[in-house]
Each structure stands twice: as C-alpha cells, then as structure tokens.
C-alpha cells in the first residue's frame, strides 16, 4: 500500500515503471516469438543433421547388407553410436530389413540374440512406416525414462533398397540450449527493462521532477507569505523558462506587495494620526461636553449646583420606588438685599460665594448643594433622617454666623446669617413637591421666628 502511494505521488516512478513495463513486455513477447522460431529451427536442424548422418551411412551400410556381412554392420553401427554419441547425441542405430526385422544393431552381441530384444525397444509403428516409406521419416517422442528422443529413419539404397536405418537421438541438449536461451532472454528483458526504468527515473528526476519540486516549494513558500522565495533555476529548456518566469513573477509580486504595504503603512499612519486627532477631538469634545454639562448644572458665581440640577436631582431622588430617607435643607441669607444696597452687588457676590463655600464644607460628599435662588440655597441630604439633618443644619448656621466676612471680602460686611428650613421624606413629606414646599414653609417659619435659626416643618394642626 505504501508502495502504491509512493508510485501515485511520483511522476518519475510512474513513467519509469510504465516504460520499463512496456519494454519488458515487448522484449518478452518478442523473445517468446523468437524462442518459438528458434525452437522450430533447432528442431528442424536436428532432424536435418540426423538425416544427413544416416544418409552418409546409407550406402556403406547398403553395401555391407548386400554382402551380407552383418557382423561388420554391427561394428559400423556400434562405432557410429560411440563417436556420434559425443557430438550428435546418437543413442542407438539399427538396420531393419523389409519386414521390420532388425538385421544389426549398435551394440555388441550376435545379432540373432539382439534381434528379438531390439524389436521390443524400437517403436514398432515407426519402424513399420519407415520400412514402407521411400523417404526418410522422423518422429519426436518421450522415452519411458522421460528422455526426449528424435527417431529418424533412412532407407539404405544401393541399386536396390537393402534395408532401412533407424536411429534414436537425444534431444536433451537441444532442450537445454533452448532453456538457456529462454533464461538469457528473460534476463535480458529484465535487465534492459530495469536499466531503462532506472535511466528514465533518474533522467526524469533530474530533468523534470527536481525543477518541478523547486517550483512547488517556491510557490508554497510564497503562498505562506515568504515572498523572497525563488526557484533559482537557470536552465535553457521549457522548465527552466517556466522557473525563470516564475521567479520574475515572484519578484513582481514581492515588489508590488512591498509597495502596497508601504502605501498601507502610510495610510495607516495617516489614519492613526487622524484617529488620534479624532480621539483628541473626541476627548476635547467630551471634556467640552462634560464642561458644558457641568456648566449647565453649575451656578457660575458660587460654583455649586444650580437650580436646574437641584430639580433634576430631587426628582430622581424622591420617587415612589425610593425607600430611603432624604432630608431637604433650604437656606436663605438673612438681610441680603440690605447688604447689596449698602455695599453693592460685587460685595454681595463675594458674600454669596463665601456662604456657598461654608455650606459646601459643612455638607458631606453625598449631599447635593445647589443655589436655589438669588440668596437661597438648597441641600439634598441622602440617607439622612430629620434629626441628623437638624444637626448638620445647626452646625452650618453656626459656621456662617461666626464667619469673618470682613476679612474675606475686605469690606465692612458685619455678621451674616442664614435661616434654614428642614423637611424629611418620608417623615414630613411623601413626594418631592411636598418636600420642597414643606421645607420652604419651614424656612419661612425660621424667618418668621427671628432669622438665624433652623426650623423643621411642622404640620399645622387645625
């Protein structure tokens, strides 16, 4: 399986195997045909030589038979078999008369004894046909021991037909030669095919596969982003041209990409700058907004929250869902108008500023102080009940009353005081309108009771 995968992935191997396989088959087929032809030729050659040998014996043997010198004939045939056995693989020769009787045979012994024995060995059918035919006959057969034999007959003629020679030849050598030829051809086929395959594989590797791999590698690197990858091939053939064109293309891509990147960088820098500018603008805008919001909710003079902010806050704080306790303090600067008339508005502003400051200091960070009117201030005390609120209010009143305004303003202001009205939700009111109204009432009460005092709302009993 691994082998098949390897073959599938390599052109060189496939081509080499295809070529080698084809060559092997071609040689094998050609070889098989050749062997067939050669085999035919060898066999025919064997027959012709056998017949030629017997032909040369024909006349002398005929004469010997004519003279009825059969002992001599025995001698001839034995000698022929001995000598012929070495070179022509003669196994046995016999002389037959017209009735297929053996007159003489290629072994020692009197022919009379041999005649009976020999008749059994010679192929009776072949002998019969041989003595009847005027031509030389041949037959291939296998002996009982498994030897392949060629039987050839030759009429012995000298004037008359004196008899028929019959000989048996061993074909084993022929078979051996043919086997050798087959092995040689097979070896040749394998060798040549193998050599061709190897040559082709190596040649393709060098000429085709390597440059293609180089191209693939370079392409892959470029695909992964390494734009400086090149094949580096310098060849004159088609693949070389492809590689060079590829390299040129890669260089072009690299340059373009670099140019693009540069542009992108520039644009990015620009964008970043613009972005920063935008951020700055945003920030500026944001701070401007914040400032605006602050300004929108801040009293310019005293720097405390303004009335609008107060309204928004109290509405948000005092809702039906609100479960906490909230105390509202209303401050009013006592005799402020008279001060303004006496010392002028600028001093009055200063007074207001100081008072706002004192109030701010006296409150906690969670409390919201706002300028409610010209000389009025409101403070929302969250999570504070009335008692706590009273304490804080009293402290503030005291702080204002003891403050040295002359020193801070540089004018003969004299003592300033505030009046404070206090109401608590839920103790004194249920909603913010009620809370404002009742703390206002409480303030009025404080004013009515002589100013410079803190008064809590008290519900009028009628």
């Amino acid at each position: 399986m691994i082998g098949i995968a390897a073959i599938r992935s390599r052109i060189g191997l496939r081509l080499a195997l295809l070529a080698a396989g084809t060559l092997f088959i071609a040689i094998a087929v050609g070889g098989a045909i050749t062997v067939r032809i050669v085999e035919s030729a060898y066999r025919e050659e064997a027959r012709t030589r056998a017949a030629a040998l017997l032909g040369t014996l024909s006349v002398p043997c005929a004469i010997t038979v004519a003279m009825h010198a059969l002992d001599q004939l025995d001698g001839y045939l034995t000698e022929v078999t001995r000598v012929g056995g070495e070179h022509m693989h003669v196994l046995a020769v016999a002389m037959l008369d017209a009735d297929s009787h053996v007159l003489a045979r290629s072994e020692t012994g009197t022919f009379t004894e041999l005649r009976a024995a020999a008749r059994a060995e010679l192929d009776a059918d072949f002998a019969r046909r041989a003595v009847q035919s005027p031509d030389a006959l041949w037959r291939e057969q296998v002996s009982p021991e498994g030897k392949r034999l060629l039987l050839v007959s030759m009429p012995t003629v000298s004037g008359l037909r004196w008899g028929t020679l019959v000989a048996a030849f061993d074909l084993g050598d022929l078979d051996r030669q043919l086997s050798e030829l087959k092995f040689l051809l097979t070896g040749l086929a394998l060798g040549l095919a193998g050599a061709l395959g190897l040559l082709l594989y190596v040649g393709l590797s060098r000429l085709v596969v390597r440059p293609v791999r180089a191209l693939a590698t370079a392409a892959e690197l470029i695909a992964r982003g390494q734009l400086q990858a090149r094949t580096g091939l310098q060849r004159g053939d088609e693949l070389g041209r492809l590689a060079q064109v590829f390299d040129a293309m890669a260089s072009e891509i690299e340059l373009s990409t670099q140019a693009l990147e540069q542009k992108v960088q520039e644009r990015t820098a620009e964008v970043e700058k613009k972005s920063r500018e935008l951020a700055d603008v945003n920030a500026a805008l944001h701070s401007a907004n914040t400032e605006l919001a602050r300004l929108a909710s801040t009293d310019a003079l005293t720097n405390v929250k303004n009335r609008r902010h107060f309204s928004t806050t109290i509405e948000r704080r005092i809702t039906p869902q609100q479960t906490g306790t909230t105390t509202l303090l209303m401050f009013d600067v006592d005799h402020f108008k008279a001060l303004n008339d006496r010392l002028g508005h600028p001093v009055g502003d200063l007074i207001l500023r100081d008072i706002a400051h004192i109030l701010q200091v006296g409150l906690r960070t969670t409390d919201t102080l706002s300028r409610y009117g010209g000389e009025e201030f409101a403070a929302i005390l969250v999570d504070t009940d009335a008692i706590q609120g009273l304490e804080i209010a009293e402290r503030i009143r005291s702080a204002v009353a003891t403050y040295d305004f002359d020193h801070s303003t540089g004018h003969p202001v004299g003592p300033m005081t505030v009046s404070v009205g206090l109401a608590n939700c839920p103790q004194d009111a249920q909603d913010y309108e009620q809370l404002i109204a009742r703390s206002d009432q409480a303030l009025y009460q404080a004013k009515a009771r002589g100013r410079n005092r803190v008064e809590r709302f008290v519900a009028a009993t009628s």
Binding site: G21, A66, M154
Partner: protein, 343 residues
Amino acid sequence: MPMLSTTLPKGGPLRRLSLALSCSAVAAICGCKSPPEQGSLQGMVPLAAKPMETADLHLAPGDLPASITKLRFGITPYLAARQLHVQMQPVADEVGAALGIGIEVTVTQTYGELVDAMARGTMDIALLSPLTYVLAKERQPDLQLLARTMTYGSTDYSSYLAVRADSSLQGLSDLKGKRIAFVDPLSASGFLFPYVAILDGGLDPKKDFQHLEFSGTHPASLQAVASGRVDAAAISSGTLTEDQSGASAEVRILFKAGRVPYDALCARAGLSPAVIAKLSTVFQHIDTRSRRGREILGRATGISAWIAAQDRDYDDVRAVLSRVRHHDPTILPLAHSATEAGR
C-alpha cells in the same frame, strides 16, 4: 511525452487493460500451435531406388517359338570355366524354374566368341563385361539389355593405376619411361580407363613407356607390380578386395582412373518382349536380401543382385573407348572382329 502525460492520470484502468492484452498475446503465442511431432524429410535419401513390381513369370505358350526348348546362357571367361559353372548354375536353375524352361550355361573360350554367338543367334542370354557389351551393342544394335550386375553391393567399381607401396612415383607424369602392365585390351578397368588417364596425364602410352605388357588377368597384373617386375599396373578395385596372396598389402594406388559399371546381362535380338520382360524380372528378383537369394548367389561370385539398367548406363565406357580410338585408331576399331583373341 505529451501523450504519456495525458495517459498517466488514467494509469489505473488503461494500464491494467494494456497489461491484460499483452499477457493474453503472450499466452496465445506460447500456447498456440505446438510443433509437429513427426513427418518425412524430402530429398535426403541417397541413390533412391525405384520399387519393383512382381508378376507371374511363367512363360506362356506363344512367348517362345515351339521349336525352342531351352535358353542358352553364355558367360565370358573372367574366371576359370569350372568355377563359373559352379557359381552360375544355381542362378540358371532358379531362372529356369521361374520361367518353366531349361537354362543351359556355357562358358565361352573368349569374349569375342560370346559376342559372335549372340550376333548369330546361337546364344540367347549373355553376361558381358562392360566393354564387351559396348562392342557387342555396336555390332548388334538390337541387343537387349536385361539388367546390370551389382557386385559387393555396388553398381560400379574403380579402375586403378597401382604402384608398389614403397615406390617413389607420385603422379602420372612420373610414369614416363617406366614399365607398365595392363590386363587385356578388352578390359575397361584394366586397359581402357587407365589408357585415357595416362593420355590426360600428358603421356603417350604408345611411346612414353620403357616397357608395356598385357598380363592377361587382373590378379596377374597385381602380381606383376607387387613383385616389382613392372613399375605400375592397371587393375580393378575388386582385384585388391579379392586378393588372397597378400600382394594387395604391398601396393598403393597411384591414380584412380575412373568408375566402371559392372557386367551387363543381355538377351539377343529376336526374343519376344514378353520373354525379355519375364527374363528381366526373374533375374532382378534374385538378390542377397533373402536367404534363398543368398543361397542361389553364394558368396564366391560377389554378386549381390541384378538391377534394372539402361543402355546409357554404359555411356561412360563408350566415351572412354572413343577417346582411345581417337588416339590410336588401331586399338579396338569399329566393327572389330571379336574373333581375335584378347592378348
């Protein structure tokens, strides 16, 4: 390359298909037509012979004129008469038995006598030596050839010029000025063929020999050269084979003068075709292949068989004869009177 790169992606099924095709092609080649197991080889048998027909050989009434009660069979004196009688009588008896008529064997005194007898019609069948046949045929063109003899299994024999084994003679030209023995002017192998060979060797037999003799018989010729009485002798190959004296071991062959066909068996003109046919057939049936044949022919004659013959089988002898005549018209002139005894 482009073709391969388009087939590769489909390598799987295509490759399998082509492999399958190739395998089946190979299998087909290997498995198909197995080689033949037997057959015949044409044209490889030397001296292929024509088979012989058998027929009823008994002479029918009317084959011969009623006056003829026996056939006379004449033989040239190539051996002693008594020997020849012994050898050929069994043959005559066999032939007679097959034909149903008596055969009388006669050995003539001379070759010429037999030829004359045949010409005159006083001999019916004759076994003639090759040269004698050629001369007889010249004299009597109607002479009918029945068969030719096969001796020692061969249809022809060789003519040699033999010298002593220790002789310094190497070639024909060395014979100049030497002593030579021939057999007989009527001997093809013992005179005619060697004569022409000497002519071809650049010598003139009439002039270039110190001494020329005719020894009379082949064995005598062999003895002449073996003993050293002559330097060279013309003999037949059979002489060497048959030699019992040991002289054949003391000689070697200087030159082979040619191949000569064995004796011709002929019948006189005037016998009917039926008789001729039957005579041919019966003689051609006698051969040493069968035991009966071996009994009839015996071993002494060396005759193996009689085989079918044509007049042209003896044309080589005719050719040599005409060359000899051309060189010396006095030798064996045309219409040579065969009454002259061979020296």
